[in-house]
């Protein structure tokens, strides 16, 4: 009968008290950081037309998107991403806003989740988009902000990993291979699948890029891999990407982030989405990246406005569940015991006074305020008996 009446759908969950408070503290910390650098918040609907994501269909396979039909038969989706709706805004309401735009959001995204995989279908993301500027300092600004965001939540325990898609693209372009082969190579590099990559690349024996592609999944770690990469393959496009990555790396290091930076030239997920720098953030305890971002100059073109753009998103759920957190200072609590005869004005005066002193204060209705003094779990306990207040504990 009412079989699902008391449970939540696959991939979703309720969050109670402590979890919400911890999350709230993270949201405030990140929001303060973003605002301090001039980012302003937007909110877009959970429901969007399927067409919005159809333009970017390569990025989101249709089977991963929750779909609904509205009352006139149009297809709606639960947004699987926050950046594409913002690109939609750039192509519509923000079309005439030609100055660089700094935007942040705190929203949930939805992706179809298999109920038994433990994968979440509802993910809280907080992120920034910086649209309309493409100087190197803009990439640095976004990555520095990413590092500060992780620092605010995880303390010193985080790593930021950098890539530039230009190196991979230069390698694949030089093979002159069909697009499907390029995509197969990308997938194998992304999964660091050395054996399958080796056998797929056999057909390109003799191509200068072959050796570099075979080694690409291993080209991660310290900044030294950039030299290794250049020794393996060098042409105008690949050198440009490596030079740019090196300069960004050095700039970020000079800002005091050296110990948090690594390079992974095999970070080629969504290679058709990102057009320059790609980066990801990790922290111990979380089995997947807690932050991801990069430059995506081609996206707003799909909405009719060709604007360079960069940004990142933080997965708040992963951070809340896995990241080691700083001890939150909980406010001291007070209880105000009242019964039917308590003077209501007096009670509210007392609540106001306790709040002003920094206590969280709550009214506890009891049978008889005179003799009810055994409440626990509060730092201070008051009783209002008739018109007089007194401290019980």
């Amino acid at each position: 009968m009412n079989q699902f009446g008391k449970i939540t759908p696959d991939g979703t969950k309720d969050r109670l008290f402590d979890e919400c408070e911890k999350r709230g503290a993270f949201i405030r910390a990140l929001g303060d950081l973003f605002r301090a650098r001039g980012f302003r918040e937007v909110s877009t609907p959970v429901l969007e037309y399927y067409d919005v994501f159809e333009t970017a269909k390569g990025y989101f396979p249709q089977q991963s998107i929750y779909k609904l039909i509205d009352h006139t038969g149009r297809i709606l989706v639960l947004r699987p991403d926050c950046t594409i709706p913002i690109a939609r805004l750039i192509g519509s309401r923000l079309k005439n806003h030609t100055d660089p735009l700094r935007i942040f959001y705190n929203q949930k995204i939805y992706r179809y989740a298999d109920g038994n995989s433990g994968v979440s279908g509802e993910i809280s993301q907080m992120g920034v988009e910086y649209i309309g500027a493409n100087l190197a300092i803009c990439d640095v600004e976004i990555m520095e902000l990413a590092a500060r965001s992780l620092n605010a939540v995880c303390g010193d325990d985080f790593q930021l990993e950098l890539c530039h898609i230009g190196y991979f693209n230069a390698l694949v372009d030089s093979l002159n291979a069909p697009a499907e082969i390029g995509e197969q190579i990308r997938d194998l590099v992304e999964h660091k699948n050395f054996p399958a990559l080796d056998s797929l690349l056999e057909q390109f024996e003799g191509c200068p890029a072959q050796k570099a592609l075979k080694k690409l999944p291993a080209l991660f770690g310290s900044v030294a891999v950039l030299n290794e990469a250049r020794a393996l393959f060098s042409n105008e496009a690949s050198d440009k990407a490596l030079d740019y990555l090196a300069s960004i790396y050095n700039t970020l290091s000079s800002l005091g982030l050296a110990e948090h930076l690594t390079i992974d030239l095999g970070l080629v997920n969504q290679a058709d989405y990102y057009t320059g720098i790609i980066f990801r953030g990790y922290t111990a305890g979380a089995g997947e990246p807690v932050l991801s971002g990069g430059r995506y100059d081609g996206l707003t073109r799909e909405f009719g406005e060709d604007r360079p753009a960069t940004g990142f998103a933080v997965n708040l759920d992963l951070l809340c569940e896995k990241a080691a957190t700083k001890q939150q200072n909980k406010a001291a609590s007070a209880a105000v015991l009242v019964d039917e005869k308590s003077d209501i004005k007096k009670v509210f005066e007392l609540l106001g006074k306790l709040n002003a002193e920094g206590y969280t204060a709550q009214i506890i209705p009891v049978e008889d305020a005179v003799c009810a003094g055994n409440k626990t779990g509060f730092d201070r306990i008051f009783a209002v008996v008739g018109e007089t207040e007194r401290e019980v504990l």
Binding site: Q159, H191, K192, Y282, A284, G287, E288
Partner: protein
């Protein structure tokens, strides 16, 4: 204190084949050989801990980051997904995933919709999707050969090593779906956070491959 690197190891056949390889790579395995009922056991030298698990669970433990490394068959990887790094083919546990049908049955002829039994419904469905064939896949947990023998399916998609079981049940290989062997997989965040320890294990196991 940082916890030890943890390896999830598929129990059974893969476990038997990997232990000599671990020993050849210089990891002491006396504790692993005499594991009794324990589920987590360190190597004798304490280089890493080994967690014994069923094949599909190895994937779960590595994807969630509970284990950093997994030793698991390619069949399980294809059936269960891939948000991890698949860094080495260990060259053991080699066999084939095949489509097999009763002798002389000519599976691809005619227009009738077909039914196939398999322990690997996703692999079977993907295979027929690639062939643009409309085939019903029936998941069977035990001896899949019973499907055609009992007359409920036209063929099976299953692993074969020698083909003996197929022959004894009047079946023959129609086509190879893919080659299967044991793979070493690594959690994405673990590789980045413990690069040198994990790369050392991968390198030593790669060097210990029998066919090298």
């Amino acid at each position: 204190m940082q916890r030890k690197i943890r390896m999830a190891l598929t129990k059974g056949r893969i476990e038997k084949a990997i232990i000599p390889m671990l020993e050849k790579a210089g990891y002491g395995c006396e504790g692993l050989k005499d594991k009794g009922r324990k589920l987590i056991i360190p190597t004798d030298g304490g280089e890493f801990e080994v967690v014994f698990a069923k094949a599909a669970d190895v994937i779960t433990y590595v994807e969630t980051g509970a284990c950093d490394i997994g030793i698991v068959g390619k069949d399980t990887i294809m059936e269960n997904g891939s948000s991890f790094y698949e860094m080495a083919d260990l060259g053991i546990g080699r066999c084939r995933m095949v489509l097999a049908a009763p002798k002389d049955a000519n599976f691809f002829d005619g227009y009738a919709a077909r039914t196939v039994a398999s322990k690997y419904p996703k692999i079977a469905a993907d295979y027929f999707a690639r062939k643009q064939m409309d085939v019903k896949v029936l998941k069977i947990e035990g001896s899949v050969e019973l499907g055609p023998v009992l007359g409920i399916t036209d063929a099976i998609v299953d692993l074969v090593e020698t083909g003996k079981t197929l022959a004894e049940n009047g079946l023959e290989v129609v086509e190879t779906v893919c080659e299967v062997s044991t793979r070493l997989i690594v959690n994405i965040a673990s590789l980045k956070l413990h690069k040198s320890s994990i790369e050392e294990i991968v390198d030593r196991l790669n060097a210990a491959r029998e066919d090298k």
